[in-house]
């Protein structure tokens, strides 16, 4: 199978990830829940994982690195810390349901800073217009999970700092691919999954916490300050109630090691090359519409396309029959499709990881070309 659905989950991982998961199941107990060697080993693994993440994302202290079950979990904590019912929250036009649904459930007043695809200046202008003193928070994705559009989050974060508005970054598609610094962004929170660009197992995520005391969305045992009825007021314990996902954390630690060792520049360069190659090939196929930044300057390793006259789900299924795994539909991001004008039809998304090859990108382009040709000239 040619796996091109890494925007959902990277399937091929460094072999050390599976080894670490396997080891954890039989050897790592609960960190902070005992003085015996199995608990100590677990504690050391968790700390090492936090330390690697703190180094990769330029976080001052490993205590600010909180384990979550997903980026969605982290975004829920971040959003529910900063926004109350009726509060005004500004988001980009490319947000995932992991942002829009918590805001909807909360009853926040959501304002969308909308702008066309691959137009960072227009995106920034939209934020400049909407971020006002009565804004409770700004939430922005770093990279659109549908189109790979890299939003100008550095300048949006700078705008928030100037205006004193807390900034939440959804780094679901950028963590492990693009440089990220909590310190430089001055973000209140950065949420990310462990199972995409960080190559950890599913069920892992990280929430990087800035200076604001987070609200708890889950309360319970933490192995610390146990005599108190309230959750501890210090991180990471405040946000880590219940037993840790040690197999996940051990695997994530190896994923972080892989990313750190390989280097973001190399990973980004590789994915950029695959995206550019696919875009070039698809752009010359008649009846195929590719959503791409012409020079890939503000596009990560994610791209969407449509075949004229072919339902996107039909295209996805046809590609699956040819051994190519992509994702079709709305990608849990109806707002992004609405902004790009693809809400009705949806798109087919291909997304790359460090383990894909140019040959696989060409195989996708070839298969799409064949499908488009069969649509233009149906067999009699």
């Amino acid at each position: 199978m040619i796996y091109l659905d890494s925007a959902a989950t990277t399937l091929q991982k460094p072999p050390a990830v599976a080894r670490a998961v396997h080891f954890a199941v039989g050897h790592l107990a609960s960190p902070g829940r005992g003085g015996h060697p199995a608990a100590q080993r677990a504690g050391e693994t968790a700390f090492h994982c936090r330390t690697l993440a703190a180094r990769l994302f330029d976080v001052e202290s490993p205590e600010q690195v909180v384990f979550t079950s997903s980026a969605t979990h982290g975004l829920n904590i971040a959003i529910k810390t900063l926004a109350a019912p009726g509060d005004r929250v500004v988001i980009s036009g490319y947000e995932h349901n992991a942002v829009t649904r918590p805001l909807h459930a909360l009853g926040a007043r959501v304002e969308v800073a909308s702008g066309p695809l691959f137009a960072p200046e227009e995106t920034l202008a939209a934020f400049e217009k909407l971020v006002t003193p009565d804004t409770a928070a700004v939430v922005c994705t770093h990279v659109s999970n549908v189109f790979g559009y890299v939003l100008p989050v550095e300048t949006i974060a700078a705008l928030c700092r100037r205006r004193g508005i807390p900034f939440i970054l959804d780094a679901s598609q950028s963590a492990g691919v693009l440089p990220l610094s909590l310190r430089e962004l001055g973000a209140a929170f950065i949420a990310m999954p462990g199972h995409k660009g960080l190559y950890g197992p599913q069920g892992t995520g990280l929430l990087l916490c800035g200076e604001i005391q987070p609200a708890t969305v889950l309360e319970g045992g933490t192995g610390s300050a146990s005599a108190l009825a309230e959750m501890p007021d210090f991180l990471p314990d405040r946000l880590e109630a219940g037993t840790h996902n040690m197999p996940g954390i051990a695997g994530l630690m190896e994923g972080l090691r892989f990313v750190s060792r390989t280097g973001l520049r190399r990973i980004r360069g590789h994915e950029e090359q695959l995206t550019a190659l696919t875009v070039r090939r698809l752009a010359r196929v008649s009846g195929v519409r590719v959503f791409a930044d012409p020079d890939c300057a503000c596009q990560a390793g994610v791209l969407s396309f449509q075949i004229q006259g072919m339902d996107c789900e039909e295209t996805g299924a046809a590609l699956a029959r040819r051994g190519i795994a992509v994702r079709a539909g709305l990608h849990c991001a109806p707002l992004a499709h609405q902004t790009a004008g693809t809400l009705e039809a949806g798109t087919v998304r291909a997304s790359f990881s460090a383990f894909n090859t140019p040959r696989e990108a060409l195989a996708l382009a070839g298969a799409v070309e064949a499908l488009a040709a069969s649509r233009r000239n149906p067999p009699r």
Binding site: G35, F47, P62, E63, T222, G223, A225, P232
Partner: protein, 84 residues
């Protein structure tokens, strides 16, 4: 041998403390805080030997990890808080 226990609010804080001490060559061992000194319930301490305490406190202050409480383990096994 006389030991000091540097009381930490969490396991992660204790791990940062121990890592900082080990970076400057001070042996530091993390253990669960004895119930008598744990204050708010379960907690962790970092154990350092008597001869290293002054250097440890300096290193921790430099790293922004100054301890809130330090206990000495007396010869009879009891704990006495040290005024910092």
């Amino acid at each position: 041998m006389v030991y000091y226990l540097i009381v930490c609010r969490s396991l992660t804080y204790a791990q940062r403390t121990a890592a900082t001490l080990e970076r400057v060559g001070i042996g530091a061992h993390i253990l669960r805080s004895p119930k008598l000194i744990a204050g708010e319930g379960c907690g962790y301490s970092v154990k350092v030997s008597e001869r290293n305490l002054a250097q440890a406190l300096t290193a921790l202050a430099r790293a922004g990890l100054s301890p809130k409480r330090v206990f000495i383990i007396a010869g009879d096994g009891s704990y006495r808080e040290v005024r910092l």
